[in-house]
Symmetry: C2
């Protein structure tokens, strides 16, 4: 992995000493360094090289898999090579769900293959099942089923193609059918549930994803996501009054406990080493694609940003920690393990954010920090403005999925929001591959992270709101 060593930087040239103006939240020196980081980042292809390496040399890497273990080793070697002061792997245990093989086809009104994939947490079918399909136009309709109404039948919950938006606003609404649909199909006695997959595209790829457990229990029936064009076809056939029958055989199942882990890489602060500014992405991916936009990009962006900061002649005052979280897709398991393993030092986590929304340009900077720190974020917003980034809200909660457990423990957050307009075209599909990443957009992300995180880590500002 010596190839990353070529990314030697000329940042030392930018580190001539300026006097800081008193009362400024950002000193002249800091401003100069931040601008130098932006320039360097925009010229660097380090992040692209990282995500290329991860997706090519490791490939798909499901949480808890052997591939994810290889990815941790890859991450550790990368962190050491890029000059982090401390790199460690923090292991945890997790249950492993395996997709198994799936065959699914329409058998009436005619035979035709359907493009489906098992949803996470679903069970195997009882061998090959051929049953009448009962159509539900929406989750609301499925939720009205009565006990045993679906006995010996397969349910299909339709819905609509997910609304596209820059913020991904359509996801949580559309996602309900994936999350809880199974509980209602099971209550009705269905032998399986098919779900219009949650995606904004019109390609023949089903989107996978985890279901929600209910009081710790997972589905006892197979739950299969169908691609939008397949769901369209079932809807049209249903509307024509056709009787539908489906043949399916799914081998999905839980396979017991395995190991996963987080890769934790520190640039140790020069003045306040115990205070941590945490950034990261998640190292695991779904098994269908190679996890380029979800979330190889986030791992690459945050690692590259910290690596650029590491080339400055002096470490920022606070510690910058990059976490490559494990097992995010299957339930934020790495994030929960991190919050637990670092429970005693969460008060020292001064700020946290994650890049986990693809590889498109950042367009907005949101925050949820103290009033004093909001002034700093406002200033950071001005420095990021030439990158096409607008300052968003100062009380916008959320720093990314893996930050949720930290947020719940009171860790302040910011969010560098990426344009998610086409994120849910690719999300959780086989189509999440390297070719979808634009190197220039990725570099813009690195520039924004490098400048923002450097300035946050080098500041004395208290981010946490007074209780």
């Amino acid at each position: 992995m010596n190839k990353f060593l070529k990314y030697g930087l000329s940042l030392s040239l930018a580190a001539a000493t300026f006097g800081a103006t008193a009362n400024d939240v950002i000193s002249d020196q800091q401003r100069t360094n931040a601008k130098a980081l932006i320039s360097e980042a925009l010229e660097s292809d380090l992040a692209y090289s990282i995500v290329e390496s991860l997706t090519t040399e490791i490939g798909a890497r499901m949480g808890g898999s052997e591939a994810e273990a290889r990815a941790r080793k890859w991450g550790q070697e990368l962190g050491n090579e890029l000059g982090f002061d401390k790199v460690s792997i923090e292991q945890f245990k997790m249950p492993f769900w395996d997709r198994g093989d799936l065959s699914i086809s329409l058998s009436k009104p005619y035979a035709q293959e359907l493009y489906g994939t098992a949803l996470g947490g679903g069970a195997a079918s009882k061998g090959s099942v051929k049953s009448e399909l009962v159509y539900f136009r929406s989750l609301d309709d499925l939720m009205k089923v009565t006990e045993n109404q679906l006995k010996g039948k397969i349910a299909f919950v339709d819905g609509d193609i997910m609304v596209k938006s820059q913020t991904g606003a359509g996801y949580s609404q559309a996602n309900q059918r994936r999350r809880i649909g199974w509980q209602h199909a099971e209550r009705g006695g269905a032998s399986a549930l098919l779900v219009r997959s949650v995606g904004s595209d019109s390609h023949r790829f089903p989107h996978t994803g985890m279901m929600s457990s209910k009081d710790g229990d997972w589905a006892s029936i197979p739950v299969i996501a169908l691609s939008n064009p397949d769901a369209d076809q079932l809807r049209r056939l249903h509307n024509l009054g056709s009787s539908l029958e489906v043949n399916l055989n799914s081998g999905a199942k839980w396979k017991g406990e395995v190991s996963s882990g987080n890769v934790v890489m520190d640039l140790i602060g020069s003045e306040r080493p115990d205070e941590i500014v945490l950034i990261g992405g998640h190292l695991d991916s779904w098994d269908l694609g190679t996890g380029a936009v979800d979330d190889g990009a986030g791992v690459a962006i945050t690692t590259a940003a910290a690596a650029l900061i590491a080339k400055l002649p002096k470490r920022p005052k606070r510690t910058i920690r990059v976490v490559m979280f494990g097992a995010e897709e299957v339930g934020l398991l790495g994030a929960k393990a991190y919050a637990k393993q670092h429970e005693g030092e969460l008060d020292n986590h001064v700020l946290a954010t994650e890049s986990d929304f693809g590889a498109r340009s950042i367009w907005q900077l949101n925050s949820n920090v103290s009033d004093q720190a909001t002034l700093l974020i406002d200033e950071i917003g001005k420095i990021l403005s030439p990158l096409g980034i607008v300052r968003g809200g100062s009380d916008v909660k959320g720093g990314g999925p893996d930050i949720i457990p930290l947020d719940q423990k009171g860790v302040p957050t910011i969010r560098l929001s990426q344009n998610g307009m086409d994120y849910f075209d690719l999300h959780h599909t086989p189509d999440d591959t390297l070719d979808k990443i634009d190197a220039d957009e990725l570099a813009q992300n690195v520039a924004a992270y490098a400048a923002a995180i450097y300035l946050a880590a080098d500041s004395d500002v208290e981010f946490r709101r007074k209780p």
Copy 2:
């Protein structure tokens, strides 16, 4: 299928009698009718309804399959309902190639599923085969293999993502690796050949398609197309110096003789019933998608255009024949059967063209007809100009794939060229589904065909060049 009856037209209103100006290639009456056809077509959703019906009620329909037989029955009923004067099914025999099941995955440097599909004419593997992969950057490189150089190995011929163009110009070049690659892999003794699939997209769908036979012989090894992102991945791994190993099991095989057929639908000419203007599309599709753009669209466009002409108060002078060709994808078998079965009357085929290049708008009108008829085509070009169609060349050969056998027998051709910029993103993939069709663009096609074919059929012009 009575739903199509609702498309009653008000064209009779447009048929008030005008006197024709002598010496004009197009009379005032004809010009009025052509413009009325255009207006009606742009307002009509008949073509969209036809392709929706075909792709929904029949679905995928491979040449020689039971589904294609259902499609012929569907076509026959449609023709009768839309008021064609004569509708017949003309059967022919053909050999049937079956894709069978395929599993293919990388086993070294790590295990990962590959997205592949068998190419038409390929053989089954000898059970499950696990072999070293030998990488060839191009077909030229593969063509240099010596006998037995690939013994016990699987060859992969890379190449480049097909160049996008309005005309589809990149296809025949890229397609060589699909067509003849197998002959060289076989000569080298390879146990299978993998081919970067021929498509201009960067989606994880492999593009299928027929290979070329060699002196009537087909490949004796499996030949598998891989999606562009999968081929990219193999290239990157090869360039990193990784040893590659692939595990594959393909059940593709020839399955003996079956029946197919062409659906032939005539609007019998009012003055020169023996003279035939032939249009059409192909009824069969590949099995992976539902054949919406290839070629449900062409069937729908040409059928709808003729159906609009049928609503005129009087039949055009010459017969307009719509042919829904069978078994195009697997070797122009319907087209060849038609040319043979109609051998004695090909001199009466005054003009022929096919719509088989997707569902995007027509942008150019090309022709290859006599000088006198070129003047007529020039005038037709002016009438089509408001549709965004430019007059192309007057000596451009080719009326579409199924017209090739007629062209070879001297039948004059025109071509209403569609914008093919994204055609090869979808072509021969599972993603060729109804949602890819824009109803307005489809209606523009119908408008152009209706006007052009009406004017050609109602003219006395001799299209054939003097020998």
